[in-house]
């Protein structure tokens, strides 16, 4: 896969509006993250790896679909780095590529249950597909 040929750290910084150099690597974001155990890379690692240009690993990781967008990392960050925005930028960079939608309308019927609110479907489609 040649993802990093097209997506650079600068792209992610531009899309997210995040300045990873503000991070002091205290790990409070990852200490706050409710999805920590589900994620291969954790919020502080997204910041550190973008800083170091290790984009390919992040784009290939399922961690980008495990972020709940709960904004706990963003709220509690002492340096206003906003890791959630960076994770979203990586996800967006992946799903904007041809054929990279993580979830499509065809996947929905099997996921439906009686109580599932429209909000869940719209949210998931917005998060997981173009």
């Amino acid at each position: 896969m040649s993802l990093t040929n097209t997506v650079t750290a600068e792209d992610l910084i531009r899309i997210s509006g995040v300045d990873p150099s503000k991070c002091m690597q205290c790990g409070k974001c990852s200490g706050a993250c409710p999805s920590y155990d589900e994620m291969e890379y954790h919020p502080h690692q997204f910041v550190a790896m973008v800083r170091k240009g290790q984009i390919e690993k992040l784009m290939a990781s399922d961690a980008i679909y495990q972020c709940l967008s709960c904004f706990a990392c963003l709220e509690r960050c002492p340096r206003n780095v906003e890791p959630a925005k960076l994770i979203e930028a990586v996800r967006v960079a992946v799903i904007r590529q041809q054929g990279m939608n993580h979830m499509t309308a065809n996947d929905i019927p099997e996921k439906l249950d009686e109580k599932l609110p429209q909000q869940a479907i719209v949210s998931a489609m917005r998060k997981y597909s173009k």
């Binding site: 503000k22 002091m24 690597q25 205290c26 790990g27 409070k28 974001c29 990852s30 200490g31 706050a32 993250c33 920590y36 155990d37 954790h42 502080h44 706990a72 709220e75 509690r76 960050c77 002492p78 340096r79 206003n80």
Partner: protein, 663 residues
């Protein structure tokens, strides 16, 4: 016509790398009145100064222009040089071609052009310079120290030992400050009270030191050497001269609901109280908001039981007016409010405490008599989590916190962890840290002892959330070394909260016209070379009021501030700045606008007889006290009739500079 010499400095490559100094010297030669112009590598060096002296004599110079660094740096140097060659020091002008030119330009052509223009302006000004003679003002040989913590006490002791009178104004009912609240001190673990209280006693017994407790500065006027302070001595409702500090009133008081400030509100005290056993002065104070007598007019049990007759319910605030030659700011700090960081559940559980609260819990004179127990139920804790950097090192755009490192937390947390493990080896201790910052003598060794000898579990990472569950505190945080999120069920959590300047500092800074940074720490006159002086003459800085620091640093700074104060008070008189305002009697119409804008109160009015072509008779005219005037120029720009002018910076001089620049 003046005979002007121009001296262009290279400042090594600082100026010469961006400004063609030879071209500047050459251009200056063609300015009117310039009879000599040259350049040199270091004009401030002994050789450079000799060159100036010789030129003054040889070319009979009446004015000198030095193109060099900021006048803040070397104006005084070059004025002295001029004086030694027989020239009036105020015939020297500096063209700042370093800070305002070479350092901010990259292009040689641009830099050179600007340097020539700046030189031209200075030459134009010198044409209108007149010799000025500085007056003198006397020095009041007494110092005021604001704040009676370890910083203020040490400064006062050092000044008093040199033979000068010192007043300590302390807002609390006793001196001692934050250090009095500490249990042990790092890295030696000596008992804080044991080393502080002798100093408090020394201060109290020193014949040159006058402690004014429970008092605050109300207003201040005057200037270096001649300050007048109004000090509000708050009513403590106790006659200090009669109270023996026996403490019977404090025992009899039936109102027990006041929070004990000294113990960080962890327990309560009576409405009449003595802050702690070693308080100085050892005199009670009544909290009138809490006292039953003040609220209902009844009770009066303290009065009935006081055999000394010291209770005075009708006591009023008292204003003392005192004169001082120097002022030392030693207002100290407080921990920030930890409830802003409620992800650590400070507001939700009494078992989440700040480090200063923990000091009181560990202290033998504290609310638990030094026994480590959980505040919620008094039970012995088995697992304690310390969290460092709570509110420190936060960016300005973060939702909360301070941008600076509070400096003392790494060390006191190591101390707490060690003390717990020493006294209670069964207690597991974890410390979440970002960096362990231990630059100090024997500091890193101390921290390593906590890890290696006391088996304190240091976890590199921060806590994301403390959850109050039924019988424990659930701590969830990062362990960055092991790359995992860890979960600890703790009995207590201790927050190393950031420290901030005492809330009274901001108003005090305004009153003293002493500058402060955005965090309300007082700014030093120079961050490296004048660290204990405020930019305001006669105002000195001691302790955390200037920036976070530990006890040894505070004591060192206190001594340094005292040395500066002693240096000032030793002088019998001070040379005044001759660049002061004066009113042209013919133009002044006594409108009072200058008086209203003068920040120093230097302007008064007199009725004077005036004989001029336009007016003849008695006229109200502004008079400037040259000893008080600081030459700020506020009056000269306010004056509607153009009567006010500033010596050395006259309107005509400034216009000549502007004309030269625009030429």
């Amino acid at each position: 016509m003046q005979r002007i010499g121009v001296f262009v400095c290279w400042c090594g490559s600082n100026i010469a790398a961006t400004v063609d100094v030879k071209a500047v010297a050459e251009a200056a030669k063609h300015e009117p009145g310039v009879v000599f112009s040259t350049d040199y590598q270091y004009m401030c060096s002994e050789n450079g100064q000799a060159m100036i002296r010789e030129a003054i004599k040889e070319h009979r110079l009446t004015g000198v222009v030095i193109c060099s660094c900021s006048p803040r740096m070397h104006e005084a140097t070059f004025r002295k040089t001029a004086v030694s060659a027989g020239l009036n020091p105020y015939m020297v002008e500096i063209a700042n071609i370093r800070e305002q030119c070479s350092w901010i330009h990259k292009d040689m052509a641009e830099g050179t052009e600007k340097a020539i223009i700046l030189a031209r302006a200075a030459i134009a000004k010198v044409h209108l310079n007149a010799p000025l003679v500085a007056g003198t003002s006397p020095v009041t040989k007494r110092a005021l120290v604001i704040g009676g913590g370890i910083a203020g006490i040490q400064t006062a002791l050092d000044i008093a030992d040199a033979g000068f009178e010192v007043d300590i104004v302390e807002k609390a009912p006793t001196i001692g400050g934050r250090m009095a609240q500490l249990d042990k001190t790092f890295p030696t673990l000596d008992c804080s009270a044991c080393i502080l209280t002798p100093k408090m006693v020394d201060a109290a017994q020193h014949e040159k030191i006058n402690i004014i407790s429970y008092a605050e500065l109300d207003s201040l006027s005057g200037f270096v050497g001649n300050f007048t302070a109004k000090i509000r001595k708050k009513a403590r409702f106790i006659d200090e001269t009669k109270c023996t500090g026996c403490g019977i009133c404090t025992e009899k008081c039936p109102s027990r609901k006041g929070l004990n400030d000294f113990n960080m509100g962890l327990n309560t005290r009576g409405a009449v109280y003595i802050p702690f056993a070693q308080a100085i002065p050892n005199v009670a104070v009544i909290d009138s908001a809490q006292c039953i007598h003040f609220r209902t007019g009844k009770c009066g049990l303290c009065e009935k039981n006081c055999s000394a007759g010291a209770i005075k319910f009708d006591q009023k605030d008292e204003i003392l007016e005192r004169e001082y030659g120097a002022i030392v700011v030693a207002t100290g700090f407080k921990p920030i409010d930890a409830s802003a960081f409620n992800e650590y559940a400070y507001s939700d559980s009494p078992d989440v405490v700040t480090s200063l609260e923990f000091e009181r819990i560990m202290n033998a004179a504290g609310p638990t008599k030094g026994k480590l127990v959980r505040p919620s139920d008094g039970k012995h804790p088995h697992e304690i989590v310390f969290i460092q950097c709570v509110g420190s090192r936060c960016t300005e755009d973060a939702t909360k916190g301070k941008p600076y490192c509070s400096k003392i937390c790494c060390m006191y947390t190591a101390k707490h962890a060690m003390l717990v493990r020493e006294k209670y080896p069964d207690v597991k201790v974890h410390v979440f840290y970002i960096d362990a910052r231990t630059p100090g003598k024997n500091f890193d060794e101390f921290y390593r002892r906590a890890v290696e000898q006391y088996d304190v579990d240091y976890i590199k990472g921060m806590v994301g959330k403390v959850s109050v569950e039924q019988d424990h505190l659930h701590v969830q945080g990062s362990d960055l070394i092991n790359n995992e999120q860890i979960h600890i069920n703790a009995d207590m959590v201790v927050l190393a909260t950031a420290i901030e300047p005492d809330p009274t500092a901001r108003a005090l800074g305004t009153m003293l016209t002493a500058s402060m940074d955005t965090n309300d720490f007082f700014t030093e006159a120079h961050p490296k070379l004048r660290p204990v002086e405020s930019p305001t003459a006669g105002v000195f800085l001691s302790g955390v009021a200037q920036g976070p620091k530990d006890i040894p640093e505070t004591v060192a700074q206190a001594g340094a501030a005292a040395a500066k104060v002693i240096g000032l008070l030793c002088k019998n008189e001070l040379t005044c700045n001759p660049c002061v305002a004066h009113a042209n009697e013919a133009l002044c119409n006594g409108c009072s606008q200058c008086e209203r804008v003068c920040p120093y109160g230097a302007i008064t009015y007199e009725d004077k007889e005036v004989r001029s072509p336009e007016f003849r008779g008695i006229k109200r005219i502004a008079v400037v006290n040259g000893a008080i005037c600081q030459g700020c120029g506020a009056c000269t720009v306010t004056c509607p009739s153009g009567a006010m002018d500033l010596k050395g910076f006259s309107n005509s001089q400034i216009m000549a500079e502007v004309d030269a620049i625009c030429r």
